[in-house]
């Protein structure tokens, strides 16, 4: 097996040569921001290229399309990707949630069927958890799945209902789906089941939803008597909640196995400082305004705290009192910070904050305006900041549940 060192050198050389430069349109910073076919096709080709070169799924078994190397190899490749700040990996739900779930708990057949397409980006995955009436209260999901036998004598489930805010729903071939198989279960969680549902079948339709930025990014998915094979069920009937919680652990990085790369680019927390130094407010450099100076310093201190938290998390004597505090606080802290960054940037821009993407007089083609609006994707998606506060309050501080 190639040494990690040598693999890293090869990766470095490869990304140095192949990282796309001067892309003529704005690239999405996160997998939730893929809004146009142009962006989608570009990123799909890019993921495929990275995979074919051996830098995605390097540690997944060869039988399932992986590189057969170790986690250390993939981690090294991912670090190189960060170094070159390459475009994101597109197939986030596949790479980060569905893939590791299938790898850990799927049958041999499922692994051979699904995993190669996840890596090559031939098969795009989406996540069907949220519903129009049930979002934060995910356990209350109501999409109905009824077991039946079809005319050929095959077991299947018939789906009726709707999922919403489905990222890349219009591009997806498969959906990890949380549905209700038992309406008489002793509690709401026990009635749920988890499926690897095909999307391109009769009875499944997606409509694009326009985001606050004016672009498209997610969909609503309607299921009308959609028949899916019974063997798409993951685990047993009634295990849905448990499986869904497991996928959230992959999502939050509490469990490993992800195919690697990154699906959200990490903007430098201090990036806004560059803007602050250039921006003009009321005809003067923004940083001559004492209020702006103070806010900028507060922002730098917060960035510094976030980075120091990450450092401290690695030093066990300094986290021993409440070991889960920093990991459980990090989503809340990071996403709110990103939102505040956008807010600060717009205040720094003075009059130019009034422009939007596409205006030639705008600063950096409306980058900060759009970033600010897009920042809410992360303070809402994946469990809202309010839900994160509940989680920290209840699981770290031991406060009573809010219900």
């Amino acid at each position: 097996m190639i040494s990690v060192e040598e693999f890293t050198q090869q990766a470095d050389a490869w990304f140095a040569e192949h990282t796309p430069r001067d892309v003529p349109f704005m690239l999405p910073l996160t997998f939730m921001e893929v809004g146009t076919d142009e962006q989608f096709e570009f990123l799909r080709a890019w993921q495929n290229k990275v995979y074919t070169a051996g830098y995605l799924g390097a540690h997944w078994p060869k039988d399932y399309g992986g590189g057969g190397l170790t986690q250390a190899h993939q981690d090294a490749a991912t670090r190189v990707m960060r170094k070159y700040n390459v475009p994101i990996m597109l197939n986030a739900i596949g790479i980060g949630w569905a893939g590791p779930l299938i790898l850990d708990t799927g049958t041999e057949e499922e692994k051979r069927k699904y995993l190669p397409g996840i890596l090559s980006a031939d098969d795009i995955w989406c996540q069907g958890f949220s519903e129009p009436d049930n979002g934060s209260d995910l356990g209350n999901a109501q999409l109905k799945a009824v077991r039946a036998t079809n005319s050929q004598g095959e077991d299947e489930y018939v789906l009726n209902g709707s999922k919403i805010w489905t990222t890349q729903g219009n591009y997806a071939k498969y959906m990890i789906l949380l549905a209700r198989t038992n309406f008489d279960a002793p509690n709401k969680y026990a009635g749920l089941s988890f499926f690897l549902a095909p999307m391109r079948i009769p009875g499944v339709e997606t409509t694009k939803i326009r985001k606050l930025t004016g672009e498209f990014g997610f969909t609503q998915t309607f299921f009308t008597d959609a028949h899916i094979p019974a063997d798409t069920l993951m685990g047993e009937e009634g295990d849905g909640w448990k499986v869904a919680m497991r996928t959230l652990e992959y999502e939050r990085g509490a469990r490993g196995g992800q195919a690697g790369g990154y699906t959200m680019s990490q903007t430098d927390p201090l990036e806004v400082l560059g803007l602050a130094k250039r921006a003009i407010r009321n005809g003067k450099p923004a940083l001559e305004d004492p209020v702006m100076r103070d806010r900028m310093v507060q922002h730098i201190i917060d960035a510094q705290a976030m980075m120091a938290n990450r450092e401290r998390a690695k030093i066990s004597p300094l986290v021993s009192e409440k070991p889960f505090a920093l990991p459980l606080l990090s989503k809340l802290q990071f996403t709110e910070y990103a939102r505040e960054t956008g807010e600060l940037a717009l205040d720094l821009e003075g009059a130019q904050a009034g422009y939007y993407v596409g205006e030639e007089n705008s600063r950096e083609d409306g980058y900060w305006q759009r970033s600010y609006l897009n920042a809410f994707s992360a303070t809402i998606g994946g469990g809202t900041s309010q839900i994160q506060r509940n989680i920290v309050g209840e699981h770290v501080l031991g406060l009573p549940k809010s219900k």
């Binding site: 201090l270 602050a276 310093v297 510094q304 705290a305 401290r312 004597p317 300094l318 506060r389």
Partner: protein, 357 residues
């Protein structure tokens, strides 16, 4: 730019010291003792202080040649943090400031006479404030000094004086001074005012070291204050959480109400941030330039964290929060007093703006 200042290093010794100090302070400074000492003239327990000195804590940042342990400034942080966490009052900060001032800017004779004594528990302090609250060199009249912490128990004070048209630092024996106790908002601490007495040339510290010495005092004060406040912020959040888990209204524990739960989580996040910045500051405090940045960040965050945690703590205790018996006031007063000394968070941010922007 400042990214490297987020790195945290913790030696095994610091980890052990932190454990030891946390246990010691928990044992010696239960809240009943904290409150009893509010009535004490000097505001601290001399027997406990003697034990701390016997543990070697007063010599931590004094070189071995001068009778100390010869460790680093960073090694004072675990002790100060533990004291803050248990609201333990003592002349630890005052004495360390004086020791560092002598180390940086004392004459050989002053070093020889005092450092080994301070390392073994003799109490000392610094007095920089003028009655106007100013303490920069130009503002010094050198007639009357205020906010001389722990002066009542100290043997020496290092203070700014006027000498031949210059502001200088002088080391003056306490017995020449008539101290008047000041009433301050943090009742666990002791502050004094005094008129600067006559002094001799031999009391003066070298003129060329005045600026460096004042900078040293400020750095150490900010670092140890950040430690004390960050320890207190963690304790204050715990104190609030305890109440939220026991007090019931409308048939349920009040901690179930998000109007209380969510701000408490925010206070907790602030306190966690303050802790991380504190350990980062301890790691970098001795670096030229970077040290000041890391330390001011830590102190600004710690002061903000304790102020918010304590402010919400008062509110979340309801009517009881308005009483003298509720500990929330102890935390709030601590934050208020700390903000008045060596600069509040906004002051530190203004300095940081000069350094960073």
């Amino acid at each position: 730019m400042t990214r490297h200042l987020a790195r945290i290093a913790l030696t095994e010794m610091q980890a052990e010291l932190r454990d030891q100090a946390m246990r010691f302070c928990a044992d010696k400074s239960p809240i009943s003792r904290v409150r009893a000492l509010i009535q004490d003239e000097h505001g601290f327990d001399l027997a406990v202080w003697t034990e701390m000195a016997e543990l070697g804590w007063m010599g931590i940042a004094i070189p071995e040649a001068q009778g100390g342990l010869g460790l680093e400034l960073a090694d004072l942080v675990p002790v100060a943090e533990a004291m803050g966490k248990h609201l333990m009052s003592s002349p630890f900060l005052s004495t360390n400031l004086a020791a560092q001032a002598i180390l940086t800017g004392g004459t050989d004779a002053q070093k020889a006479e005092w450092l080994s004594k301070l390392a073994s528990g003799t109490i000392a302090t610094v007095a920089l404030f003028e009655p106007s609250g100013a303490w920069d060199l130009d503002a010094v009249e050198g007639k009357t000094k205020t906010f001389a912490m722990d002066l009542g128990a100290a043997e020496i004070v290092i203070t700014t004086v006027r000498h031949e048209g210059e502001t200088r630092l002088a080391l003056i024996p306490r017995k020449r001074i008539e101290a008047r106790r000041e009433t301050i908002i943090d009742e666990t601490k002791r502050s004094y005012a005094f008129d600067v007495p006559r002094f001799d040339d031999s009391d003066l510290m070298p003129a060329d070291l005045t600026v460096a010495t004042l900078e040293r005092i400020e750095l150490v004060a900010n670092l140890l204050q950040a430690a004390e406040l960050s320890g207190a912020a963690a304790a204050c959040v715990d104190y609030t959480v305890d109440y939220l888990k026991t007090r019931k209204q409308f048939g349920k524990l009040i901690g179930a109400y998000q109007a209380l739960k969510h701000p408490t989580v925010d206070a907790f996040l602030d306190a966690e941030n303050a802790r991380s910045l504190l350990y980062a500051a301890a790691t970098h405090c001795e670096k030229q330039g970077d040290g000041e940045i890391a330390v001011r960040m830590a102190n600004a965050k710690a002061e903000g964290a304790l102020s918010y945690a304590a402010d919400r703590s008062i509110q979340f205790h309801g009517g009881f929060g308005f009483t003298y018996d509720c500990d929330a006031q102890l935390y709030r007063r601590k934050a208020m007093f700390a903000a008045s000394q060596f600069g509040d968070a906004a002051f530190h941010r203004a300095r940081l703006a000069e350094l960073l922007l």
